[in-house]
Amino acid sequence: MTLCFLVGLAWALVFSPADYQQGDTVRIMYVHVPAAWMALFVYLNLALAGASLLIWRHPLAGVAAEACAPIGACFTFLALATGSLWGKPMWGTWWVWDARLTSVLILFFLYLGYMALTNAFEDQERGRRAGAVLALVGVINLPIIKFSVDWWNTLHQPASISRIGTPAIHSSMLWPLLIMALAFTFFFIVVLIQRMRGELVAARLRALGRLSVEGR
């Protein structure tokens, strides 16, 4: 993870060329785009974990879903904030209510709503199940975000990486972008495992506490 970040950062900040139209602001892309990808990817994980919690009732799925939410919220916030910092010099505005930006803002609120709902129940298991339902309903937002740039006329540019055929971006910019995306993915996995382990230890603590209260 650290190696990926170091290589990615060096490439993004020093070795990759400035854009002929956007100048050096194009370097914001190397944090903005991976953050936005991760915002969607983490939500997909959250929804899948929620689905397996509802279908197979596996307790670990609830732990995973709950661990995903704050990470995803952070990535979504970063996508919005860095997008804003990119939008100001390039579009001349911090924010517009267009389809892409608004749908990502809704994604951010979905994360916050999931966390609030999951924590609102006395019974942790019920909270996680209610959160999972919300997460699954919110999945409808993912294709809306993905295709918002094609369906509506927006200020945001359309996809340039996942186009059929060759990406519309030169390899001198594509490579650092992909390495940064890899670094972000590793970061997600590391923090996810960290948070899940923390939750499992907490569950054991609760069980021990209950045991000692009941006199073993």
């Binding site: 602001t25 860095t82 923090v191 230890v201 603590l205 021990l208």
Partner: protein, 65 residues
């Protein structure tokens, strides 16, 4: 060097986004790590107070040996 830091006149925007990203990701990592460590310490303390039956048996066996 100064040219590098100026980022073609967009220093605030470019460095601002990298700084913000670094702060948020580091904070998330630190909070998660600290939570895990704190709980692990609590668990260790509880275990020391009332060792698990399996562990108690192991300790007894070791003492006998």
């Amino acid at each position: 060097m100064a040219e590098f830091f100026a980022m073609g006149g967009y220093a605030g925007y470019v460095w601002g986004s990298y700084l913000l990203t670094a702060i948020i990701l580091l904070a998330l990592f630190t909070v998660s790590q600290r939570n895990l460590r704190r709980r692990q310490r609590e668990l260790e303390a509880l275990r020391a107070l009332a060792p698990h039956r399996r562990e108690r048996r192991r300790v007894e066996k070791e003492e006998r040996a």
